[in-house]
């Protein structure tokens, strides 16, 4: 479960990137955070994976107060979640296999398990035939699918996605969203930030709307 209680975030005074945001995403729920550019969607996600700290407020993920986690232990939080970005953030000089395997290597997964899990993750995103290609040899949609495979390869309880379809055409965007729905059906809590309201409407799920850092709909409860 993800729980934010009266969360505020300020980068530069006087503007607030997030202003008194409270929301709850239940375990196994599919949620969307929508809103225009600059509304605080990415900030909210960054706070959830502890890239930034909130100025005020409380955040609990799976009953852990993540603000209290020391910097040196943040990796333990990140191992419980997968994160997908708009710009994919793949390792350009590593092949598809290595890009996915990296999430298992940091856990010290034995080689045999690692190969099996990487193959399963890539098959789920229909890219098992491109395993030895480099990211530059793939289309944008394929690169995003590699990023999704990397995010789910270690079976995280939470999947966060920051504008995952921002660089994709509508058909590819729908395909990627289909993957998120599939991952959600397998029991993962999925929280997707997107400004594409049409896409959200097509895929259902709980919708949180942010506007100028304030939550306008779908909040706590």
């Amino acid at each position: 479960m993800i729980e934010l209680v009266h969360v505020w975030k300020q980068y530069q005074p006087p503007a607030w990137a997030l202003a008194d945001v409270s929301l709850v995403v239940q375990r196994g729920e599919l949620g969307f955070i929508t809103g225009p550019s600059g509304s605080g969607k990415s900030t909210l996600l960054k706070i959830l994976y502890r890239e930034v700290l909130p100025t005020h407020g409380r955040i609990r993920i799976n009953d852990v107060d993540i603000i209290r986690i020391p910097d040196s232990k943040i990796y333990s939080l990140r191992r419980s979640m997968g994160v997908v970005f708009q710009n994919f953030r793949l390792l350009p000089r590593r092949r598809v296999f290595e890009n996915v395997a990296v999430a298992l290597r940091v856990l010290g997964t034995p080689a045999r398990d690692l190969k099996r899990k990487v193959f399963i993750a890539l098959r789920m995103v229909h890219l098992h035939h491109r395993i030895w290609d480099f990211p530059a040899e793939l289309s944008y949609g394929e690169q995003q699918r590699v990023a999704i495979a990397r995010a789910v390869v270690n079976n995280p309880s939470i999947l966060l996605a920051d504008e995952p379809t921002g660089n994709l055409d509508p058909d590819l965007a729908a395909e990627i969203m289909g993957l998120f729905r599939e991952i959600h059906r397998q029991g993962t809590t999925v929280l997707v930030c997107t400004h594409d309201r049409d896409l959200v409407r097509r895929f259902g799920g709980r919708v949180f709307t942010l506007q100028e850092g304030k939550l306008r709909g779908g909040g706590a409860g």
Partner: protein, 299 residues
């Protein structure tokens, strides 16, 4: 789990080394130079120590006698010396014996001796000590007593020379550690710079690894290993260069120094010193990496 991680960190470290060859070669050269300095001074000190030990083992007092002293009186002085409890034995060396011994020890100086036209060496009595480490006060008292004889012109105790050479050895060691220490500090700065550049070049990759849950030790491992490998390679190169310098010196310079060549020479490093040199290289490498990573507190 440790071995696969080490293997992974090792291959990442080697990949880093391959990808920035120039920086790594510069680091390697600086480390090798630093430890070559330490190695050469240690090697010099080893030779000083060996010479001093040799002289110390043969500790003797040489009493020089007046040339016109009758043989009976020479023998009387020798008896007086032999009677001293410190002395193991005393032998009279005639001027001719002393000359022959010098020519035998220093053949390169034969021309000088011959050109003098006369034998410059005095008659002497050499007293060997029972204990090479006999107290200096007791030895000095014996010398003073024997010198009271009017037939004794001078006395030389060669342990002083051994002590002086030993002191030279200590000086060489101190200089080696002093100069070498400065160069090692410089090499740590260079390694730190190279590692820092590597970290900066891989900022994106590090960021991605952090996002997928890499711990600090996982992120730092390859860079520390990179520094360690660099340091060990530098230390090993310094060791090889020291051995080469020893050989070249004895082949090309040693003879030119004449009798001094015995003292100013390089003694081979001991196994412990060699191991220490390489290990110190590795430590310098780790120190360089650690200092580079310390500035990037987020990894």
């Amino acid at each position: 789990m440790i071995i696969p991680r080490l293997r992974e960190a090792g291959s990442a470290a080697l990949r880093n080394c391959r990808q920035s060859k120039t920086g790594h070669l510069v680091s390697l050269a600086v480390i090798a130079l630093a430890f070559l300095t330490v190695g050469l001074f240690l090697s010099l000190a080893n030779n000083f120590r060996a010479r001093a030990a040799e002289l110390g083992r043969n500790a003797a007092i040489v009493f020089y006698l007046r040339a016109d002293l009758p043989p009976v009186e020479r023998e009387a002085i020798a008896r007086q010396i032999r009677a001293a409890p410190l002395v193991a034995g005393a032998e009279i060396f005639e001027a001719e014996d002393a000359r022959n011994r010098f020519l035998n020890d220093f053949p390169g100086l034969a021309d000088v001796v011959v050109s003098l036209g006369r034998n410059p060496f005095p008659v002497s009595i050499e007293a060997a000590l029972k204990n090479a480490a006999a107290p200096a006060e007791a030895v000095q008292a014996l010398i003073a007593r024997i010198r009271e004889n009017p037939g004794v012109e001078d006395a030389v105790f060669n342990r002083k020379a051994a002590d002086r050479i030993r002191a030279l050895g200590r000086l060489a060691e101190a200089l080696g550690f002093g100069f070498g220490g400065l160069l090692v500090a410089a090499s740590i700065v260079v390694i730190s710079g190279v590692i820092k550049l590597n970290v900066l070049a891989r900022r994106d990759e590090i960021e991605i690894l952090r996002l997928v849950g890499a711990s600090n030790s996982y992120l730092r491992g390859p860079y520390l290993l990179e520094g360690l490998l660099l340091g060990i390679a530098g230390g090993a190169a310094a060791l090889a260069l020291t051995a080469l310098a020893e050989r070249l010196f004895s082949s090309f310079v040693g003879d030119a120094l004449g009798p001094l060549g015995e003292i100013i020479a390089f003694g081979s490093l001991t196994a412990l010193q060699s191991l220490g040199l390489v290990a110190a290289g590795g430590l310098a490498g780790i120190a360089g990496s650690a200092s580079a990573l310390a500035r990037f507190t987020r990894i």
